[in-house]
């Protein structure tokens, strides 16, 4: 009963999605969004009419004014600095705008232009000091904060009366402050346009990428030739301009030259930016985050106001929020990868059928027939996952150094590097023209032409519809075969892990793999089968309309028809093997050779039915201590299309071939490879066709 529940829970609850979601960039925006919703929910439950249209309109108006300054601050934060002087710039610009309109009687566009220019100049002072003179952002902007504030107080003292005594009649100016368009305040429209423009700037334009790059790593940005000084300086200018824009709207709405204008603005703005998720350390942030942060801060401060909280205590609350957000910021960025790691590995429920016996009466009967094989290239080759021979009997294998090694016939004592590819070569197949097709772990499907030129065939397939993480890149292509019409069918063992992380995939035991088809006529690649448990060992079946492949962690062999009356169907050939199947290749008698890279152990089989146990194991133990499939003993078996086991060859104790990942019959001999081995084995097959070659029939 509880077993059934466990099965259902792991079948229908997508554990693996959470770890993948956490990896997405937009997850960092989801957190402030959640905070915003919670804040709104909290205050609307405490205050009547908190979300009334009038209230909303007013909130949006204030939010937009504040939002400009937050945008400017965000830009500076992203580039790796801080701008404390925004409050003073805001106050000075407010005073200037009012002076231009009320006292000088300038038209609105002129007043706006002058104010913006002033904001830019004030920002440029910061920019030059910090960008070009390399002064500390915090100290510099604190000094300008004080200096600008002092200037403001001096001017305000002289001009306040003059400004207050005039009530100007400039309709355009009033529209800015109080006008609506489609019943939404003008300031909101302007803010929306500028926010969208800023978003495009940061995410789609080259200067925006410079900003992100410099914030991410200033030294690297400098080393690749970015104009670091200029970009930093310009970000302060932009911050000043944004403060000026905000001041213009503020001035047009309130027309008040008060001495307290902009007091404490820098703290509010900083809190908004950090609460939105913009990193204090630079390099991370977005316009969306800035907007979310602004809304949260405004709703909190307005809500506190409506709850009649004393002014002092509401500032204490805001400051506390700033402190908490900054602390969270540091902790989260320090531990994010750990959280992702914790959530990413998500074992599934995998109940394997009972393991068939391997006793003397069984077709798997143990023997030592692989104990005394001839060894080729002992210690000269590392990780020959697959082996293949050409028409002239030369032997090819991959190595973990990213090379394809060729051993020369007839004695295989001499060798050369046939091709350098750069990734671990796995499954191989020749086409009729002598071009070697190779699956390369981490790279995709490659080919080596007879003149040794290496070409990429494909490294991506179509992205699946519901994938959270882009799964179009090939992560672990591992074996292939060529169909009569030249299409290449190959398996990708897992889309969730890299090649060296296969133990983690074995721990998950989920259908993470797929079968992919490359069509040379259209030069397109598409996925034909999904959700396979470590698919491996692809071979063309005798009807030339289907492929036979292995599912390693599922200990089964399946057959898929790509053509003919059964096209699109998948059938099981062998439901349960005593070990983990790897490559499959043709035998000269029309049957198939299958490599069992390791054998099943009862303790691991039981663990596969205990996903929670495996999850805790993956979290609490280092990888070397995990329970693993026993791949220290392997064997080679021969089977037919009915799924009957015809023969088995063993190396008990694993003296020469502890782990066998591939074998290839060629002219009466069987050649043996293993991905964790340092040799190739060769053993004579009794009664085999002395002219047989397993590959090279069809043209691609």
């Amino acid at each position: 009963m509880s077993n059934t529940l466990t099965k259902l829970r792991y079948r229908y609850w997508p554990d693996h999605v959470f770890g993948e979601l956490l990896q997405k960039q937009w997850m960092e925006t989801a957190v402030p969004l959640l905070v915003l919703l919670l804040t709104i929910a909290f205050f609307s439950s405490r205050i009547d009419n908190f979300i009334s249209p009038a209230n909303l309109s007013d909130t949006l108006r204030q939010a937009s004014e504040l939002g400009f300054v937050v945008l400017g601050m965000s830009l500076v934060l992203i580039v790796g600095g801080i701008d404390l002087s925004v409050a003073s710039i805001f106050a000075l610009c407010n005073l200037t705008a009012l002076y231009c309109i009320n006292v000088l009687g300038l038209p609105a566009p002129a007043a706006i232009a002058i104010t913006l220019l002033l904001g830019a100049v004030l920002g440029a002072v910061n920019g030059v000091l910090i960008g070009y003179m390399r002064m500390r952002a915090f100290l510099t902007t604190m000094v300008t904060l004080i200096v600008y504030k002092a200037i403001h107080d001096l001017l305000n003292f002289q001009l306040a009366v003059a400004i207050s005594s005039v009530i100007p009649d400039v309709p355009a100016w009033d529209f800015l402050g109080n006008g609506d368009f489609l019943s939404i305040p003008a300031v909101v429209w302007v803010f929306a346009v500028i926010a969208i423009a800023s978003h495009i700037f940061l995410t789609r334009l080259r200067p925006g990428w410079y900003v992100m790059a410099i914030g991410g790593n200033r030294r690297s940005a400098y080393n690749i030739g970015l104009p670091v000084n200029r970009v930093v300086a310009m970000s302060y200018v932009a911050s000043g301009v944004f403060a000026a824009i905000s001041a213009i709207f503020y001035a047009s709405r309130l027309a008040s030259p008060g001495a307290d204008t902009g007091k404490g603005l820098e703290i509010t703005v900083l809190t908004a930016a950090i609460l939105g998720g913009i990193r204090l350390g630079g390099g991370k942030g977005s316009v969306t985050k800035a907007v979310l942060g602004t809304l949260i801060i405004l709703i909190i401060s307005n809500g506190l106001l409506r709850l009649a909280t004393p002014a002092g205590s509401s500032r204490v609350i805001l400051a506390t929020i700033l402190l908490l957000a900054a602390m969270l910021d540091i902790r989260w960025f320090k531990n994010r990868h750990k959280a992702v790691q914790e959530l990413y590995v998500s074992p599934s429920y995998l109940e394997l059928p009972k393991s068939p016996p391997t006793d003397a009466a069984s077709p798997f009967a143990l023997n030592d027939r692989l104990r005394n094989v001839e060894t080729i290239g002992l210690g000269e080759v590392e990780s020959p996952e697959d082996v293949i021979l050409d028409k002239d009997d030369n032997l090819y294998c991959g190595s973990r150094h990213g090379e394809i090694i060729r051993f020369f016939a007839p004695d295989y004592k001499r060798r050369e590097v046939y091709a350098r590819i750069g990734g671990q070569p796995l499954g191989m197949a020749f086409d009729a023209g002598g071009t070697l097709y190779v699956c390369i772990g981490g790279m995709g499907l490659y080919r080596v032409r007879p003149d040794r030129t290496v070409e990429k065939v494909t490294d991506e397939t179509n992205r699946s519809l519901l994938s959270v993480v882009d799964d179009s890149r090939l992560r672990l292509a591992d074996d292939l075969d060529i169909a009569p019409d030249g299409r290449v069918y190959f398996s990708e063992a897992t889309i969730r892990y890299e090649m060296h992380e296969w133990p983690t995939d074995s721990l998950e035991g989920r259908g993470n793999g797929r079968i992919i088809c490359y069509d040379p006529r259209t030069n397109k690649t598409h996925t034909v089968l999904r959700h396979l448990i470590f698919p491996n060992g692809v071979v063309l079946a005798s009807d030339k309309q289907s492929i036979i492949f292995a599912e390693s962690w599922n200990c089964s062999i399946k057959r898929y028809w790509f053509d003919g009356p059964k096209a699109g169907k998948t059938e099981t050939v062998i439901a349960s093997l005593p070990g983990y199947p790897d490559n499959i290749n043709l035998a000269s008698d029309g049957n198939y050779w299958l490599a069992l890279m390791g054998m099943r152990s009862p303790a691991f089989d039981l663990a596969m039915r205990k996903p929670a146990f495996r999850r805790r194991m993956s979290k609490r133990l280092p990888g070397d201590e995990w329970l693993a499939p026993n791949i220290n003993t392997g064997c080679i078996v021969k089977f037919n299309e009915k799924g009957e086991i015809l023969d088995a060859l063993w190396d008990l104790g694993g003296a020469n071939h502890p782990m066998i990942t591939s074998m290839r019959e060629h002219k009466g001999y069987l050649y043996i490879g293993g991905i964790s081995n340092n040799r190739i084995g060769r053993v004579k097959v009794d009664g085999a066709d002395p002219e047989f070659m397993s590959s090279g029939r069809y043209h691609v």
Partner: protein, 364 residues
């Protein structure tokens, strides 16, 4: 502060304690001495060693007690109707044999003490004053099922003292985490191995006081040396995986129910011969070699301690070796005899060679 809070949180929500296992370092630095030791004799079923009154070596093997000549020949000295699980000679020269649920001294058979039957007698050791220490590993599982007792978290071992003169048997300590080996040292202190607690304890006034804590393996039988110190055998090393499985009740119970004991995730006396044994990630052969630092399923280890319970040096057979599961040790002059239960061998090393190799640092 965050660390304190997070450790508080994890102590509430996570299962059990830390899984760390002491590493082999210092006096326990690995070498290959047991692996390359001289093989004195080889025989399936070897269980315990003892030095007879005639200064010859005796071995318990199956249902027999065998006399082992220096040439490595066995002659039957005594035969019992059950497997012999422990062997010793009293100070008066009488043969004492443990039979899991009984102890035979001379011709007398003891099958209980303090009203409780013997269940798992696994070590005997004579004291100079004519007594015999009896380690009864578990009150629930016979000796052959020691791994059941480990997986059940056995804490029912007891240590007894039989007085050969009066014939009385008294309990020295109980509630031990598997008593497997006992000894009275030159200062008269009574030492007992507590395998499942990975420590050596001294019994004082009926209480066990920790003498050597946090051993990296499962301590088993001990043997005194001339200088007041002793040799301690550890029949296998601990692994984090076993510690983890000991905390995983659901998995462990189902494993015990449905899987043969030799395929359990549990320490073993030998390993590597059967592909159905569980394997750990680090034990996957790379380039044809099983790395000696891979997590050990079985291991060969004996440690020399001085009279102050400080480890001086040790001899090893590492992961991938044959001479694993060292359960008994006897020193006779310069000859150190070790019994590898995993390989079914009696091995010989020279005590002075070991000492000089460690002194010179050539003990690789």
């Amino acid at each position: 502060m965050f660390d304190a809070v997070s450790s508080l949180i994890s102590s509430v929500f996570s299962r059990g304690s830390s899984l760390s296992v002491p590493i082999l370092d210092g006096a326990l630095k690995p070498n290959n001495m047991i692996e390359i030791a001289t093989i004195v004799a080889e025989r399936q079923g070897l269980e315990d060693l003892a030095l007879g009154p005639d200064n010859t070596l005796y071995a318990a093997c199956g249902q027999d007690v065998l006399k082992l000549s220096d040439a490595g020949d066995f002659t039957v000295a005594a035969h019992f109707d059950q497997p012999v699980t422990a062997l010793a000679f009293t100070s008066s020269g009488e043969l004492a044999a443990g039979l899991s649920n009984a102890v035979v001294i001379g011709g007398r058979t003891l099958d209980s003490a303090d009203g409780k039957s013997f269940v798992s007698v696994n070590a005997l050791s004579a004291t100079p004053d004519g007594g015999l220490l009896i380690a009864d590993g578990s009150a629930s599982r016979p000796y052959a099922q020691w791994s059941h007792d480990l997986m059940e978290g056995g804490r029912t071992g007891r240590l007894l003292r039989h007085d050969t003169a009066s014939g009385r048997t008294t309990t020295l300590g109980s509630g031990l985490g598997y008593a497997f080996g006992a000894m009275a040292d030159a200062r008269g202190r009574i030492l007992v191995s507590e395998s499942w607690r990975h420590r050596l304890s001294v019994i004082e006034n009926g209480r066990a006081r920790v003498a050597v804590p946090a051993l990296p393996g499962y301590p088993s039988r001990l043997a005194p040396t001339q200088d007041g110190g002793f040799w301690l055998t550890l029949f296998s090393c601990r692994t984090q995986l076993v510690e983890f499985v000991l905390q995983e009740d659901d998995y462990r119970h189902e494993m015990m129910r449905s899987i043969e004991p030799k395929y359990w995730v549990a320490p073993a006396l030998s390993s590597g011969d059967d592909y159905m044994e569980p394997l750990q990630g680090g034990s996957v052969k790379q380039m044809g070699i099983l790395k000696p630092w891979a997590p050990p399923r079985s291991y060969g280890l004996a440690v020399r301690f001085n009279a102050d319970f400080l480890p001086l040096y040790s001899v090893h057979s590492r992961t991938g070796g044959r001479n694993h599961g060292i359960v008994a040790v006897v020193q006779r002059g310069d000859d150190l005899f070790l019994l590898s239960k995993g390989a079914g061998r009696v091995l010989r090393l020279s005590a002075s060679d070991i000492q000089s190799a460690w002194a010179k640092g050539t003990n690789e």
